[in-house]
């Protein structure tokens, strides 16, 4: 009986610790300042990434991997390597996508959809999205992480993206991972591994496929 009680207590404790993992930040300004600091100190960011898509009705996730490169303030290479090969290049207003061997070019200056895509992606990496009045922010923290939850105010955008969650490593003040809740309520987690901050990235990375 004592043994059962012990296991029950341990389980309860584990739940309690887990529940306390991320709680609303007591000092929202401190969280916001951490993101501002990250934005100010990050000139470039490159990493491997692992994208895990959870389906609401399947116990099996969909995992994609690839490479991620960012150069302040508006250059990005988002390259999926497995299981699909797909590259998105953002260079100023110019957005180019290569899939299935074909290249498509878009301009975020004239295309509203790609303007929003660019703002979300670059804004999450730089932290600038926190200053965007189109999102309602909420701040959370744990011992190791800061979290900002952003909910779009625009009804049309909400249909495609319900929540953007940005997680920042407290100790390094680096972007750790993103959790996106899409219009259906499904969750996609993008984790950044082998992060390299402020290291030189060849300019061709953002212009050549």
């Amino acid at each position: 009986m004592k043994r059962y009680f012990f296991f029950f207590s341990i389980t309860l404790l584990a739940f309690a610790i887990n529940a306390q993992d991320l709680t609303p930040a007591k000092n929202a300004k401190a969280v916001k300042d951490a993101f501002t600091k990250m934005n100010a100190s990050t000139k470039s960011f490159s990493s491997d990434f692992k994208q895990t898509k959870e389906f609401s009705f399947m116990d099996r996730p969909l995992v994609s991997t690839g490479k991620f490169y960012y150069q302040k303030s508006d250059q990005l290479r988002w390259e999926y390597i497995s299981p699909l090969q797909y590259v998105m290049l953002i260079n100023g207003d110019n957005i180019r996508i290569k899939e299935d061997g074909k290249v498509k070019t878009y301009s975020s200056a004239v295309n509203e959809v790609f303007k929003t895509v660019k703002e979300i992606i670059l804004g999450c990496i730089s932290g600038e999205i926190l200053n965007d009045p189109n999102y309602e922010p909420a701040f959370y923290e744990s011992d190791k992480l800061y979290q900002v939850k952003l909910q779009p105010k625009d009804k049309q955008l909400k249909e495609y993206m319900k929540e953007i969650n940005i997680f920042l490593d407290k100790s390094s003040n680096e972007l750790s991972y993103l959790i996106l809740k899409d219009g259906s309520g499904d969750i996609t987690k993008i984790e950044f591994h082998n992060r390299k901050i402020n290291q030189s990235i060849d300019a061709s990375t953002f212009s050549k496929f």
Partner: protein
């Protein structure tokens, strides 16, 4: 029934006759009777054949409750890549989620006990003409037609005004389906490919009346 037995007797007696029926002096009523009997016998023979040969299609989706595919949708010169997640219980019950490369759900649809449920479909896609086309394509692709149709013979399934002709491999896994309308015109073809372990590896659905096709490759 008495008429049939009469015709049978007459047909039997003349079947062994060295002389043609006309020369035997059969009247037109009797000739009509022989024709009717022949038709009935032929029908019974064919019907017997259909019931005798039980159509067996091994459903390739049933080897696993869930399937993940990369998907490539091609319409004219436009290509759209993404992923398709499928949870499959049986021909009447399955759910699909169609996703972009970046993981966004574009549609989440379910077929449940005869009901078609739209769990998630953005307004831009929620149009009757698009829905009907998608519903029809997924019902063919995920073999819901096996639950809906009636076998006309051992390889042709009839669903409404569609006739689906199955081609199978040596272990009765479907390799090709042809969808023809009531005029016999080819509307769609569906090809299944299998791995060496006999697992579903590729699916190709192609429309013949317009330039739309969907290619799926298993991620297993």
């Amino acid at each position: 029934m008495a008429d049939i037995s009469t015709f049978t007797t007459k047909f039997s007696s003349h079947a062994h006759s060295p002389l043609p029926l006309e020369r035997d002096g059969l009247g037109s009523a009797e000739r009509r009777g022989v024709a009717l009997l022949t038709t009935i016998l032929l029908y019974l023979l064919l019907a017997g054949n259909v019931h005798g040969q039980t159509t067996q299609v091994t459903n390739p989706f049933l080897n696993s409750p869930t399937h993940l595919f990369t998907s490539k949708l091609t319409y004219q010169d436009n290509t759209f890549n993404g992923f398709l997640g499928v949870k499959y219980t049986d021909e009447n019950n399955f759910r699909i989620s169609f996703n972009s490369t970046m993981g966004n759900t574009l549609m989440d649809l379910e077929w449940k006990d005869g009901e078609f449920i739209k769990h998630y479909l953005p307004d831009q896609l929620n149009r009757k003409i698009i829905i009907n086309k998608l519903q029809g394509d997924f019902e063919m692709m995920l073999l819901k037609i096996l639950a809906d149709g009636k076998w006309k013979n051992d390889c042709t399934l009839k669903v409404g005004c569609h006739k689906y002709r199955f081609t199978q491999n040596d272990i009765q896994l479907p390799t090709k389906l042809e969808d023809r309308n009531w005029l016999g015109r080819l509307k769609r073809t569906l090809n299944f490919g299998y791995s060496e372990q006999k697992k579903l590896s590729t699916i190709l659905l192609k429309h013949h009346s317009f330039a739309l096709q969907m290619e799926l490759s298993s991620i297993d």
